[in-house]
């Protein structure tokens, strides 16, 4: 299954050794998504219409956006299971501010980014300076952030949220020339992250840390600062995603917002070929993973199957995607087998 691009050594320019921009896992994912789209278009005439594709792209943006940050975190060998609670805290703070003082769209997005980045800073500082496994700390902060969010909520829901964030929603005002704005934001962020992770020394540091943290430190990388940065970026993107979640919802916000989101994000990232043990992963893969998950969700609903069945397929896709990656890893020459 390994693409020829993997076997051939990449052309060495200026001492830079990078794999081909689209690696094996991503080729497979593109093919799988293409096959799914063609099958769905053939099975239900409603699928290949604007009324179905645009909501699909809008619905995948929160997961994909947080997934970009999560990719960075997982590449360094960490994980952040608190993003669902981060989204909840950001969403309720933004919603309260919009209802209470009627702030505009830039202020709302800015507020979400600041709150999200602060929560990410808490995670990053505890993990980098407390030298504790990321999964344990973020399990703890998952509870702590949810507690903080519930304190802000006060009553069970926030009612009467104005349509300030409608430009990020599903409706007409959320599109330009038929393309949803939230999807455009996602593409811009993804392109920036892709270029940064792939083509700058700072971006490569994340991969070095995930490959071998001690070696990275000895090579002069500021490991702790990089790790903190990864969690801050994840929190910041979760803050932006919270704006999208509000925009896609109704005028009321329930306390259950964001619950369970962390698992969807991690699913998208690992389907995209990012190695959970660190050192390997790509933003493009995460986008494709999120697209695949959302395609399955939309497809199952449009085929008239019970919507809960989509999670079964998500589970199967995780196994297949990661299994294919394990197989390729075993065949890869010069790589230590991890089993």
């Amino acid at each position: 299954m390994s693409a020829p691009a993997l076997e051939r050594p990449a052309p060495v320019r200026a001492g830079r050794v990078l794999p081909f921009p689209v690696t094996g896992q991503e080729v497979v994912l593109i093919l799988v998504v293409a096959v799914l789209w063609v099958t769905l278009a053939a099975a239900t005439p409603a699928f290949a219409t604007e009324g179905s594709i645009v909501p699909l792209l809008v619905a995948m943006t929160p997961i994909a956006l947080i997934g970009i940050g999560m990719t960075v975190v997982i590449v360094t060998g960490g994980i952040d299971v608190s993003v669902g609670s981060t989204v909840m805290v950001c969403a309720v703070v933004i919603a309260k501010a919009m209802v209470g003082s009627g702030i505009g769209l830039p202020a709302a997005v800015g507020l979400g980014m600041v709150v999200g980045a602060l929560l990410g800073l808490v995670n990053g500082a505890l993990i980098a300076f407390g030298r504790v496994q990321a999964i344990i700390i973020t399990f703890g902060t998952l509870n702590l952030f949810r507690f903080a969010g519930l304190q802000v909520f006060g009553s069970a829901t926030v009612e009467g949220i104005p349509a300030t964030l409608a430009p990020f929603g599903r409706g007409e005002e959320g599109r330009t020339l038929g393309v949803p704005h939230s999807f455009l934001v996602l593409l811009v962020v993804a392109a920036l992250a892709w270029a940064y992770l792939r083509h700058t020394p700072g971006g490569r540091h994340f991969y070095a840390i995930g490959g071998d943290q001690d070696a990275a430190r000895l090579a002069g990388i500021r490991v702790r600062a990089r790790i903190v940065l990864g969690y801050v970026v994840t929190g910041l993107l979760a803050g932006v995603a919270a704006c999208f979640v509000i925009a896609q919802g109704t005028s009321s916000l329930a306390a259950s917002v964001g619950s369970g989101l962390e698992l969807s994000v991690i699913a998208a990232v690992v389907i995209g070929g990012t190695s959970i043990t660190g050192g390997r992963g790509s933003v493009l893969g995460t986008l494709l993973g999120a697209l695949l998950v959302q395609t399955v969700r939309t497809g199952v609903t449009q085929l008239g199957w019970p919507s809960q069945l989509s999670d079964l397929f998500v589970g199967v896709f995780i196994i297949v995607a990661v299994g294919a990656d394990l197989l390729r890893q075993r065949r890869r020459p010069g790589r230590r087998r991890t089993t």
Binding site: I136, L144, A267, V314, I319, V322
Partner: protein, 345 residues
């Protein structure tokens, strides 16, 4: 070495010592508050005993996580809650609709849970999937099946509702009236499970093999241990325990609910939290039954006290705060102990 330094070292390196101290602090503080009438109801022995009903599923799943995490190589089981949901539904079908007697129905739950665990174990131990990913995938799959199998409707036919009578309190066997009555689930499910897990881990070669592969995969293989099979059986055991928890949960709710183990944050996260708090090292090879049981008691009795001190909805919110704080502090303490004393036991 002075006495204080020695005591500090004991509390920091022996997780059970730390938990006993914390448990004593919680109990003394809350009893004092109760005697000065700060709480909305008395925090006494019979209240503590009745809240143990919450400890049954929590402690059993934490024991399941103990087995899996101890097996090493990033071992973790995110799917336990989904296994509880799925097995609970099948148990509901067998006992509530197909008219099976109770014993075969419980056996079915046990076997089905073990089969779910066997799938996890096969993916992790034989195919080399990272445990986090394999159990995330099966979490999705099992949760989805549990919801679809009865079209999201619970099963609460007459036999299932009558199971609720088994969730009552009984006198402690052998001791009799000296202690307050405890929930029946403690006697029939939790204590036997804890005893079996303790016997296997501390008194059998299978237990020693599990610690060995958790500590060092390669060394264990070179000393002739079948690493894959040992790791696989840890996941099977975790699945079987989840199957038993499904029976307990169905009895407690008098209904087989399709989301019993997955609603809200689910059952897996609290179980993992308790295991970590009980001194199970996430890197594998370290963990004891006593620590997990003490950690469960600490969390359950702290939560029970919070409910009395902060009444209503805010009480359950403060429980989140307490759980998160306790976990973060325990993790930071673990790291500190690791650097200062070279690890805890």
């Amino acid at each position: 070495m002075t006495v204080t330094a020695r005591a500090l070292r004991l509390v920091l390196t022996q997780r059970t010592a730390l938990l006993v101290v914390l448990l004593a602090v919680v109990l003394v503080t809350l009893t004092t508050l109760s005697q000065r009438n700060y709480l909305s109801a008395p925090y006494d022995a019979s209240y503590l005993a009745s809240t143990l009903i919450n400890a049954v599923p929590l402690a059993m799943l934490a024991l399941a996580e103990l087995l899996v995490i101890t097996s090493g190589r990033g071992g973790i089981d995110l799917s336990v809650g989904a296994v509880v949901s799925l097995t609970g539904m099948v148990f509901g079908f067998a006992y509530g609709q197909w008219g099976w007697p109770l014993a075969p129905a419980i056996l079915l739950a046990l076997v089905l849970g073990a089969a779910c665990g066997a799938l996890n174990g096969f993916l992790v131990a034989h195919l080399g999937f990272p445990a986090l990913i394999a159990t995330l995938a099966t979490y999705y799959a099992f949760r989805s099946l549990a919801l679809v199998v009865n079209h999201q409707k619970p099963i609460n036919s007459a036999p299932v509702q009558e199971l609720y009578s088994t969730a009552t309190s009984v006198p402690v066997p052998l001791v009799g009236d000296a202690l307050p009555e405890v929930p029946l689930g403690i006697v029939t499910f939790l204590v036997p499970t804890a005893l079996v897990v303790w016997l296997v881990l501390a008194r059998t070669t299978a237990g020693r093999r599990l610690y060995a592969i958790g500590t060092n995969d390669v060394a264990a293989r070179w000393s002739g241990i079948d690493v894959r099979r040992t790791r696989w059986s840890a996941y099977v055991a975790a699945g079987a325990i989840s199957g038993l928890v499904a029976v307990v949960t169905v009895a407690q709710f008098a209904s087989a609910r399709p989301d019993s183990g997955t609603s809200g944050n689910g059952m897996a996260l609290p179980a993992i939290t308790i295991a970590i708090l009980g001194g199970v090292a996430i890197t594998g090879g370290v963990g004891r039954v006593a620590g997990v049981v003490l950690a469960t008691l600490l969390v359950v009795w702290l939560n029970a006290g919070i409910l009395l001190a902060v009444p209503g909805n805010r009480g359950s919110q403060f429980q989140l705060f307490a759980l998160g704080t306790v976990l973060v502090v325990a993790a930071l303490l673990n790291a500190l102990t690791q650097r200062r004393y070279g690890g805890s036991r």
